[in-house]
Symmetry: C2
Subunit: 224 residues, 2 copies
């Protein structure tokens, strides 16, 4: 009893692969992926770092599990919706999930072994398109362009110098003050668009998404 009270809350439950991966995601969300070490993760779980190796083979496998867990949070397209609504819905869901776990997008480049949740998601997307009347080849095209857009937007959003929503005007102004001459078009766009009240980079998402969905609708009906 007294012994148990000395340990962190998380240590009460038994360790498992899932608990390890979940704790790693929580740690990366809070402190950033660069702060995720086996020692720190052990500490967060009330255990020595070496104990983690009973549940994951190595750090690479842990990272694979984290990416797959993030994927599992994205809405899977349902059977009963038309493909366009379903694709819109999962694209919006994906943006939210990747904004909550911005480190995941940077991890995807180095993690080439997709997990079960990732495969399940991909399968559901392709299935939705096939049932929506897309040929195999056209489903592959649609899958490629939609996923590129979703991940690329998330990458740009994670990449913003200011925090996602409203631009911090001081920062932008400071940058621009020294650079207005060198980058006239960037300056124009920043002053007349980005720094306008109510601007949110996230609003750009809908424009591109609808552009792609409309394009796909035409391509489905009139294959090249």
């Amino acid at each position: 009893m007294a012994r148990r009270a000395e340990r962190p809350v998380e240590a009460r439950a038994r360790l498992s692969r899932e608990r390890v991966v979940r704790a790693a995601v929580a740690l990366a969300d809070e402190a950033g992926i660069e702060s995720l070490s086996m020692r720190r993760l052990g500490e967060a779980l009330g255990v020595e770092a070496m104990s983690l190796y009973n549940h994951v083979a190595n750090k690479g496998q842990l990272l694979d599990g984290m990416v797959d867990l993030v994927f599992s949070e994205i809405d899977t397209p349902a059977d009963d919706r038309d493909w366009k609504s379903a694709m819109r819905r999962r694209a919006i869901s994906a943006r939210g999930v990747l904004a909550r776990h911005p480190w995941a997008i940077g991890l995807m480049e180095s993690r080439t072994t997709p997990g079960p949740a990732t495969l399940r998601h991909h399968d559901a997307v392709i299935g939705c398109l096939r049932r929506g009347g897309f040929s195999v080849a056209m489903a592959a095209h649609a899958f490629s362009v939609l996923d590129s857009y979703i991940y690329g937007f998330a990458l740009q959003e994670a990449n913003l110098p200011f925090d996602s929503g409203e631009a911090t005007a001081e920062l932008a102004q400071a940058i621009l003050a020294q650079a207005a001459d060198d980058y006239p078009y960037l300056t124009e766009l920043t002053v007349e668009h980005v720094l306008q009240p109510g601007y949110d980079f996230g609003h750009e998402y809908a424009f591109g998404l609808e552009l792609i969905l409309t394009g796909l609708e035409h391509a489905r009906d009139e294959p090249a």
Copy 2:
């Protein structure tokens, strides 16, 4: 004379920030970004790791410089082309550059301080769109959707389990054998499309690119 001969070739020239950054890019290209350490980079340059700190403040600044160097390799839109050709050209150029330096796309998530080459490139892109008849707001939309697509496609390409071009049939077959029941649509797409002779994921790039360019052309002429 004898002394000089004992040192690696690269050490002959004087160290500079540019040489350090270039050597870091070369090392990351050859051995992967995870192999890039200050000690290893020093070794490649025939110098102790600590000498590097005379030219870059820390490793983060080195990574910033590497990303900016990669950006400088992408074709900048020229003045004399119509916007559509110019955007097509720089998109194709960007894919090649990011395929040569696949670690760069994963780095972008954590590097939020754009360098001069990055800013110059962005300025040229926006300028090309403005001169091509896009309003400020529409140029921002176009910029966002094109860059999302370019980076997202590069991210997916870096992410492929097989090496970019042709799929290694054995690997794909092995995966599918165990998973055909769980992922029927993914199986169909893989067998009937990906594993067909001559398939190259890179071919998907043109489809999405033309879809987006066509959509932008309409949006420019009939703003919502």
